[in-house]
């Protein structure tokens, strides 16, 4: 009798325990999410990644230094799931129309902080300043882009269009912020360096981007960028150098998006059309990193579908605002990796191009002009089956 009881309790217990395993949610496939690290991280690098992840998600409040002027209160609020951003957290920059620099620095330029903590008035765009809206790009695989050598980027550039394909591509030559040291083998032109981050490629590296983001996007001053956007005065740091280093490391070691449906015939056909239609002339299908102290970034080949160069994109995309030496109608080729996962971070819909104005991949392609005019026309001339294939390929990225 007793034995029977014990037995039934044990059976019941096992039943429950087995059910437990079945009832717990499993991880999504690795290629379905942007989160995750590059390969071959050491345990110390993984630990730093996790610290950076936490700092990236940290929410600032008035008490912990937010503002007084700000655009949003955490990195993650604008870079949800490390993917492309949503129009509700776009930011606006104003006041520069050519390489002579920003004329509105004393009036709150270059970035509009349209929010303020209570008791302060947010900024307005000064009259006479032209403006552009920027929607957040995805944050994945940036370590690879950072580790490409300047020489490789320049090799893709063709300022005088010597190959006569209608596509030139030039770097945005920028002045180096005083807290930055140039990378070894940096190539300069008239004392200026190649910018590679941001939609205008106005930012040198991920450290530069992180320091700017703290200061300009959240009103968090650091030892590197101590001037508050409201008072214009130097304040005590509100984020430590160590935290900034962790966030930079996090950005460097976030994995690159993994392509899906690689073997599908539609996707394969789409990839051929991508090259045939000259998309690859700007959205370079393959690049390699130079030497890196992080093993997973050291001499690696990757497929970001960008050349990190600026291209004339025509009148419709000219917002009459620029950074560095770039023209107002020039934009950095957006990496296309992760494009198929964009809607999972943009709230179920896509918001593409620099300001999120394109609501579908096709709309984005049809907005291409300038150097990309021919390429767009080729796309427009495709049969609907071919268009479908090309888009399936882009969605697999």
């Amino acid at each position: 009798m007793k034995a029977k009881y014990t037995l039934s309790i044990i059976t019941f217990g096992f039943f429950i325990a087995t059910a437990c395993e079945k009832l717990l949610p499993v991880s999504p496939y690795e290629n379905a999410v942007l989160d995750g690290t590059i390969k071959d991280l050491t345990t110390a690098e993984t630990a730093q990644f996790l610290r950076g992840d936490a700092a990236f998600a940290k929410v600032f409040t008035a008490n912990t230094g937010l503002g007084p002027l700000f655009v949003s209160n955490s990195c993650i609020s604008c870079h949800a799931g490390d993917g492309k951003g949503h129009p509700s957290t776009s930011l606006i920059r104003f006041g520069q129309t050519d390489e002579t620099g920003n004329k509105f620095l004393l009036l709150g330029g270059p970035q509009l902080q349209h929010r303020a903590i209570t008791g302060f008035n947010p900024e307005n765009i000064p009259s006479g300043a032209s403006q552009a809206t920027f929607i957040a790009p995805s944050n994945t695989g940036l370590g690879f882009l950072e580790a490409v050598s300047d020489a490789d980027i320049l090799a893709l550039s063709d300022p005088d269009d010597k190959d006569n394909d209608g596509i030139s591509g030039i770097p945005n030559w920028i002045e180096l912020a005083n807290f930055l040291t140039p990378k070894p083998n940096a190539i300069t032109k008239n004392g200026k360096y190649i910018g590679r981050f941001g939609r205008k490629a106005g930012v040198y590296n991920l450290f530069n981007q992180t320091v700017n983001a703290y200061n300009q996007d959240m009103g968090i001053v650091s030892a590197y960028s101590p001037n508050d956007t409201y008072s214009k005065e130097a304040l005590d740091p509100e984020v430590t150098n160590a935290e900034i280093a962790d966030v930079v490391h996090y950005l460097q070691t976030l994995k690159a998006p993994i392509q899906r449906s690689v073997e599908s015939t539609e996707v394969k056909a789409g990839k051929e059309l991508f090259v045939k239609n000259q998309c690859g002339a700007c959205h370079t299908p393959s690049m390699k990193t130079a030497n890196s102290t992080i093993q997973g970034l050291n001499n690696k080949t990757f497929a970001a579908y960008t050349d990190l160069l600026m291209h004339d994109m025509g009148k419709d995309l000219d917002d009459n605002y620029t950074e560095g030496s770039a023209k107002t109608f020039e934009w950095r080729t957006t990496p296309l990796w992760g494009l198929g996962l964009a809607k999972d971070s943009q709230g179920g819909k896509v918001h593409l191009m620099h300001d999120g104005r394109a609501k579908s991949i096709e709309e984005a392609i049809l907005l291409h002009s300038g150097e990309a005019l021919k390429s767009r026309q080729k796309y427009a001339a495709l049969s609907s089956k071919e268009k479908q294939e090309l888009i399936k390929f882009l969605e697999s990225l």
């Binding site: 717990l24 209570t118 008791g119 947010p122 943009q346 819909k349």
Partner: protein, 408 residues
């Protein structure tokens, strides 16, 4: 490995005799009050030990549980949680003057709170005065939150993460009841200190009334020199059940300092309805509460902070096996389920016109055993989906909890 581990803990939970024997002859146990009581009576409808012939009553409850949860395949492993131990200490100074207090030790001794410490002057049924640290009677859970009364280790999400569970404040007010044959009518109305600006500027990055609980200064002074009003009316019909309607509102921001106006007054308004009943025939009990929060925000405020929130829960509890067992004549097994939902940001993005999310839904089936009515051993499984602000694919969480909660 994991399976056997879970299994042993399960057995342990079933068989463990957690209450040591004590000599109870010194104490006279006042019986737990009957089920016709209303939420308003919860403060007094608790088991007390009366010490000798003194007018002093002591009591309390403790609850702990094991927790094993996984979100999207990633878990923090297994842990034990000592949720809280709460002490009640009360007494009558006079037939019509009573004192009652409730002191809570949360998560070990991480937090110690006086949740309730008030003197009641009971003039007559309809008219009583209460002053001290008062539990704001918004919704039903805030009033009637003792762990052993519930079949779930977790408190409802809407009560803890939207409404401030066990939100208490210094203040005073009136309460009373009116009886007629089948009906009881009850009211409560208090003025207390209240909220502050952290509800719209906090580490949760969402409008969060519970953040104001962290401000312990509220027991000393109002954050803005304004009182918070909380009022509730409830009716109970012996056959139908109890229905409550409550409101809490006031100015939450610091709009002036030293006589200077800093900002316009910004108000918050909370409405809640609650209902509970027991279906006679099946003995099924249903407890539900839904609430709506409305907060005036500064213009152009960060979109993460919503001006409207809504949420609530429904608990259904069904006794399934009520027979003497292992020496407990009133032993009862229940199956139960809680369904809950919270939307922390009701509204649409101005930029896109799309719905703002920041939402959670959760379903939590449970099996519980009550060897005696005031002690419960409960096994809960929660499956939950949570959406970020933008409504991206939700994170899915599954949690198992085995817990004990008991008055002592």
């Amino acid at each position: 490995m994991k399976k056997t581990y879970l299994f042993w803990l399960f057995l342990l939970g079933l068989t463990q005799n957690i209450f040591a024997q004590i000599d109870t002859t010194l104490f006279r146990r006042k019986p737990i009050l009957d089920s016709t009581k209303m939420n308003i009576d919860a403060v007094y409808s608790r088991p007390f030990l009366q010490v000798g012939r003194t007018p002093l009553g002591v009591g309390g409850y403790a609850e702990m549980n094991t927790n094993f949860g996984i979100t999207d395949g990633i878990g923090e492993g297994f842990s034990f949680q000592m949720r809280r131990m709460t002490l009640f200490l009360g007494g009558s100074l006079h037939q019509k003057i009573k004192f009652m207090s409730e002191i809570e030790f949360e998560d070990g001794t991480k937090e110690i709170n006086i949740e309730f410490a008030a003197i009641d002057f009971q003039f007559n049924n309809l008219f009583n005065f209460r002053g001290g640290i008062i539990m704001n009677p918004i919704g039903a859970f805030n009033q009637n939150h003792d762990g052993p009364k519930w079949e779930f280790s977790d408190r409802p999400i809407s009560a803890t993460q939207m409404l401030p569970a066990t939100f208490s404040n210094v203040g005073m007010g009136f309460y009373g009841k009116k009886y007629s044959k089948q009906w009881v009518f009850a009211y409560e109305a208090y003025l207390t200190n209240g909220f502050d600006e952290t509800i719209i500027d906090n580490g949760n990055s969402r409008t969060s009334l519970p953040t104001a609980k962290a401000n312990k200064n509220r027991f000393e002074e109002s954050s803005n020199g304004q009182a918070l009003f909380t009022g509730k009316i409830a009716i109970r019909n012996r056959k139908i059940g109890e229905f409550g309607l409550s409101y809490m509102g006031g100015v939450y921001n610091k709009f002036q300092d030293d006589g200077f106006i800093l900002a316009p007054k910004r108000a918050l308004n909370v409405f809640a309805i609650d209902f509970n009943t027991t279906i006679k025939k099946t003995k099924t009990s249903i407890i539900t509460e839904w609430a709506w929060v409305n907060v005036d925000l500064p213009n152009n405020y960060a979109v993460q902070y919503g001006s409207k929130q809504s949420g609530g829960f429904v608990d259904i509890v069904q006794p399934v096996y009520k027979k003497p067992l292992l020496g407990f004549p009133n032993s009862t097994f229940n199956i139960a389920c809680r369904i809950e939902r919270v939307d922390w940001n009701v509204g649409k993005f101005t930029e896109t016109g799309d719905k703002i999310y920041d939402e959670v839904i959760s379903i939590m089936p449970a099996i519980s055993w009550r060897p005696i009515p005031s002690t419960v051993i409960r096994f809960n499984y929660r499956i939950q989906k949570q959406w970020d602000l933008l409504g991206n694919p939700p994170s899915k969480t599954g949690v198992f909890q085995l817990g004990v909660s008991s008055y002592f």
